[in-house]
């Protein structure tokens, strides 16, 4: 297969405004969208801003939306498009744009800080940790996360409702809570942090309506919804929706309100 000239539309601009700009650019066999963006930089638009790093799907920097779908540019092969197709590349649309394809992903770093860290078990020194493989499997799946924030971008809870950003941690960080709650040696409970309860009370687990877009876009293939979010919801139910306890609290609230 030889090279061909492809039609691209790339969003350019910043927080004040911008729009899709048309390009015609050479494409060669085996290339990915990020290669084409780089070619645009080197030949037609030297100041085209794009964030990238490893170019091998391992760092999660080059997140963007390609033909409207959240994807990693370095893992989207040009061969998935027809030669006639116009390929549209825009920045992530759930976060404030900085410039061109670069967005301000600070939301995610703020949320990361709100999740209480791993609590080491008391009386177990370095080198004394004993964990069975079957006990770490679940959390290991979640630790494959490369923090590309595509799940955070696609999640309609914040994508379509800016006002929910304060209350909702997003799939990535709810998964982080699940990871810690399933860690065989995490001692948060002993230190007074109930991860199951706070997942719902402080990190907005209830906003999730398990419509699975996070799982659909995850480039690492992590089953975020089935293996992290739903199990976390079930764990919250353990704590909060035992029906008698729940009924009791409802009645108490009613009577105090009335």
């Amino acid at each position: 297969m030889s090279g061909y000239e492809a039609r691209f539309k790339v969003w350019r601009g910043d927080a004040h405004g911008g729009g899709l700009e048309d390009f015609r650019v050479e494409v060669n066999e085996g290339e990915v969208v990020l290669d084409i963006i780089h070619r645009l930089q080197a030949t037609q638009a030297p100041d085209l801003a794009v964030r990238w790093n490893c170019k091998a799907g391992k760092c999660g920097s080059c997140s963007a939306e390609i033909n409207g779908r959240p994807r990693l540019m370095c893992m989207t092969r040009m061969s998935v498009f027809t030669r006639e197709e116009t390929v549209t590349v825009t920045p992530l649309r759930a976060f404030p744009v900085v410039r061109d394809l670069v967005t301000d992903v600070g939301f995610n770093y703020r949320k990361a800080r709100e999740v209480p860290a791993f609590v080491p078990p008391a009386g177990v020194g370095p080198g004394e940790y004993r964990m069975m493989q079957e006990d770490v499997d679940r959390s290991q799946e979640f630790r494959k996360c490369i923090e590309c924030f595509l799940c955070q971008d696609t999640c309609h809870v914040v994508r379509d409702h800016e006002e929910n950003k304060a209350a909702f941690a997003g799939p990535r960080f709810l998964m982080r809570i699940a990871e810690l709650d399933m860690h065989p040696l995490d001692a948060a409970a002993e230190s007074g942090v109930d991860r199951k309860r706070t997942a719902q009370d402080e990190h907005g687990l209830g906003y999730c309506n398990i419509t699975k877009c996070c799982t659909e876009v995850c480039p690492e293939g992590i089953k975020i919804t089935d293996n992290a979010l739903i199990p976390l919801k079930e764990r919250a139910v353990d704590r909060k929706y035992d029906p008698l306890v729940w009924l009791g609290s409802k009645i108490r609230r009613r009577s105090s309100a009335g």
Partner: protein
Amino acid sequence: MSVVERQGWDVVVVGAGGAGLRAAIEARERGARTAVICKSLFGKAHTVMAEGGIAAAMANANENDTWQVHFRDTMRGGKFLNQWRMAELHAQEAPDRVWELETWGALFDRTKDGRISQRNFGGHEYPRLAHVGDRTGLELIRTLQQRIVALQQEDFAATGDYESRLRVFQECTVTRVLKDGDRVSGVFGYERESGRFFVLEAPAVVIATGGIGKSFKVTSNSWEYTGDGHALALLAGAPLLNMEFVQFHPTGMVWPPSVKGILVTESVRGDGGVLRNSDGKRFMFDYVPDVFKEKYAETEDEADRWYEDPDHNRRPPELLPRDEVARAINTEVKEGRGSPHGGVFLDVSTRMPAEVIKRRLPSMYHQFKELADVDITAEAMEVGPTCHYVMGGIAVESDSAAARGVPGLYAAGEVAGGMHGSNRLGGNSLSDLLVFGRRAGWHAAEHARGSAATRPVVDDAQVDAAAEEALRPFSVSGENPYTLHQELQRTMNDLVGIIRRQGEMEQALQRLAELRVRAARAGVEGHRQFNPGWHLALDLRNMLLVSECVARAALERTESRGGHTREDFPGMDRAWRRVNLLCALAGDAVALSRETTAPIRPDLLALFEKEELVKYLAEEELYE
């Protein structure tokens, strides 16, 4: 001139990979207010690309493993050029550094009895690499990142501000280390997002910027690897050590062109993958050098038995140190026995069931499936050498990681030289990051405390000069920085690459001199907000400086050793073992000098057999 935002910190860490984060954690834990500066987003550093594991003699998989054995392997791998005290500290402290990660939440793969599982790797006598599938680097960086967040949460609880004692400045680039007399006084840099300049005043600066791979065309390194730290140290007056030693990883992807150079982890071979040429022959048996003859299998049968019974068989030659394997592949391809796209075949498909491959090498399976449309459980991979790591780096004191000649400057990780000698063993870089990252953070914090009464002062003239230098690309024109970068990469790849010749290196130096002149005219369009053309124009200075050091040192060293192979001097020369090449700036020019290293301590020498030492050490060293 311009008003530049200034902040005062105790310790500034440049670089947020494994070494930088480990240094920052240590400095903060020892009470220093610490700032970390990184070019990418927090948690994206090149460390995430490390696949194989962290080498540490924990003896979980083989109880005979000790730090002494690890030390021995490291020295052998580096062909005895290693700064032996660093290799000693590294081997002794690595297990503690790994165990400490578990207390911060890391989840390594486990042994049957619940300890950290350890895997085989090239050059390591025993299974020694703590790992998580083939994404160990990601686990390392995430654990350190989350440890930093944990410390920030503590600070928030104490002060109401997450960033009061430990702050990460992400997407910022440092262009100058500032000095007060001969002491470090801070750093000058810019925010990539806005283009705004800033100065962080600090008595101690830790450089942990990684490597230089982006000066080469075929490389496994990311865009960040432009030799910034090397250049910052040079410009601040610190020398670089043994820059001629550049490791070409034997197995990078060779096809398709857009991913050429991306790493194929050594665990593929550690777990049973074999190398074949176009004749289907396992050619590595023909390339076992004399110094390694007794340690490696001579037949395929013996090699295959080793995976099951390593105590009674010798290891397969695919697991020779990286420099040997890379040269062998290079030779096979050159002699016409290569694969269709100019590599050789690396095959696991005929040696392991598909399920096992997917479980043990998940990211490799994905990488080939998605980037090359190759199913590694059904067909062989095509691989070839790729520029991977620089053994040379900032010359440091072994115990303190302090850069020589500049009080207050520290260096750790790939940017520091000496630890790996002429060739690094797989798995030793992640342990290096942790061991010397911690040491750098520790000593930087001590230094900062010692200078509390007499904090160095940032000189306005230096700040203005740095700002002017950074703005130059907007006021010149004539050269495209992208074109210059490509020419530089081609020059280094073709003329100072895996096999080196005197004439070619002289030619390279000439071209580098021309490129330096042209780089002064590298202009950019647009404005300062997230402008990649401008960023590249500024990085060019660093790449050119470092490339010149590499080429000069490579021309000077008239022998072949580890990551430095001279076609005109193919043998290892014992006389060169004691010689370090130091590269420094004299005015505007790069100057090279020789230095004789201190003799290896007798108790460490005693760990080796006399017959082995004879191969490396000169007569007079043996009988001192």
